[in-house]
């Protein structure tokens, strides 16, 4: 699992400030943690994450340019 303290939009194992550890449970295929989260930046610098699941019935919209995809394996 990635642990990138310098990437504020990506998951890591908290707390980075102390010595405690608590590894997140591993995602199960098809489970609630089996999602993708696409990150976009607005013109004003704010981020937005679009969460989607493989079985989602949401309308598919092509991803805009300059997005970054986070797959479960990266979590």
């Amino acid at each position: 699992m990635a642990h990138r303290k310098d990437d504020r939009d990506q998951p890591a194992t908290p707390p980075a400030r102390g010595g405690e550890t608590a590894a997140p449970a591993a995602p199960t295929p098809g489970g609630p943690r089996d999602f993708t989260a696409e990150v976009e930046r607005r013109a004003d610098g704010r981020y937005i994450l679009y969460y989607a699941w493989p079985t989602a019935d949401a309308v598919s919209v092509p991803a805009p340019r300059r997005t970054r995809r986070t797959r479960p394996a990266d979590r």
Partner: protein
């Protein structure tokens, strides 16, 4: 615009966020900023429709990373500090109408997974001491947008309630070697009178010390501190008991019940918090169908809550409402 001011009398920080006076207030449905942007329509906060749940930085944040310098100078007695931290908005669904109660179990499970993910991300920030997921529901609570949504705050200090919980949990742990919530849960289960619902992994209870008439706490049976520690089965159980509680609330007075929902997790400040136990607290303001409980003189002025009801009786009433058992919630 936004800063923290220290109250040396109560020993707590107060956030000032004057820009929030200008935030969007109960817009007409066609101008909802949380609906996906319509083709040819005015841009909203959500640029696309192809998602299940969206999370974005609040346009009117109380806390932010890289906050501006305070507008006033503090003193040694009353210091001022930048309002650093995080304020996120969680949009539960692209669909405008409805509430969290109306969302199917699967979506509630996914929302819990999103809360867990945001806890991981925000909790890893060096400046974030506590991640707080919550929802304000209903105009009487102060909701300014009707689209189903909640919020997540990342505090750069431990706010008073979370600090008191952490302190008492630590003291109990040092004194007994145990967890105050685990011990409380054991007593509540043994007594049974204040239990509202149970699953294999979760218990819903009107606590012995409830401050609000229909206050309910959801507590996992296993000692965990953060949402991301839950197993998939425990997430499923949490979604089921949460949805059960929401359905009971709406059945209570035959209408959509306002509430504050607060997810309390172990602080992320690296302190001694092994005794802290994840739980969810609900505070509905209604004491009857038409009467609200207000935080008046004793509550606001002195900090002493007065509850007009017995927890044993409100728990019994909630227990009798459908769904009677979380296993009855099938979708």
């Amino acid at each position: 615009m936004s800063e923290r001011r220290w109250n040396p009398i109560l020993g707590e920080w107060v956030i000032t966020a004057t820009h929030r006076q200008d935030r969007t207030f109960l817009p007409p449905r066609d101008f909802c900023p949380l609906c996906p942007t319509k083709p040819g329509g005015a841009p909203t906060e959500i640029a696309r429709a192809g998602f299940d749940i969206a999370v974005f930085e609040n346009r009117f944040p109380s806390l932010r990373r890289d906050p501006p310098a305070p507008a006033v100078a503090g003193t040694e007695l009353m210091p001022v500090a930048p309002a650093d931290g995080a304020c996120e908005v969680v949009v539960y669904t692209p669909v405008h109408d409805g509430t969290l109660t109306d969302q199917p179990l699967e979506r509630v499970e996914r929302l819990i997974a999103v809360w867990a993910h945001r806890t991981l991300v925000l909790g890893a920030r060096p400046e974030v001491a506590a991640v707080f997921c919550f929802e304000n529901k209903g105009e009487v609570i102060g909701v300014t947008l009707h689209h189903p949504h909640g919020q997540i705050y990342g505090y750069s200090w431990l706010p008073s309630v979370l600090e008191r919980e952490a302190d008492t949990a630590r003291a109990h742990n040092h004194r007994t070697g145990g967890c105050v919530w685990c011990d409380l849960l054991g007593e509540e289960i043994a007594d049974g009178r204040r239990i509202v619902a149970t699953t294999e992994d979760w218990v819903a209870v009107v606590p012995f010390f409830a401050r609000w008439p229909y206050e309910v706490h959801l507590i996992p049976r296993r000692h965990v501190g953060w949402l991301h520690e839950l197993t998939d089965a425990e997430i499923a159980g949490m979604a089921r008991i949460l949805r059960t509680q929401l359905l009971k609330y709406d059945a209570l007075f035959d209408g959509s019940l306002p509430y504050i929902m607060a997810v309390h997790q172990r602080p992320t400040d690296g302190g001694d918090h092994d005794g802290y136990h994840l739980h969810v607290e609900f505070y509905p303001p209604n004491r009857t169908a038409t009467k609200l409980k207000f935080l008046a003189g004793s509550e606001t002025g002195a900090g002493a809550f007065i509850n007009d009801t017995y927890a044993e009786e409100t728990a019994a009433r909630l227990r009798e409402l459908a769904p009677h058992d979380p296993s009855d919630v099938i979708s």
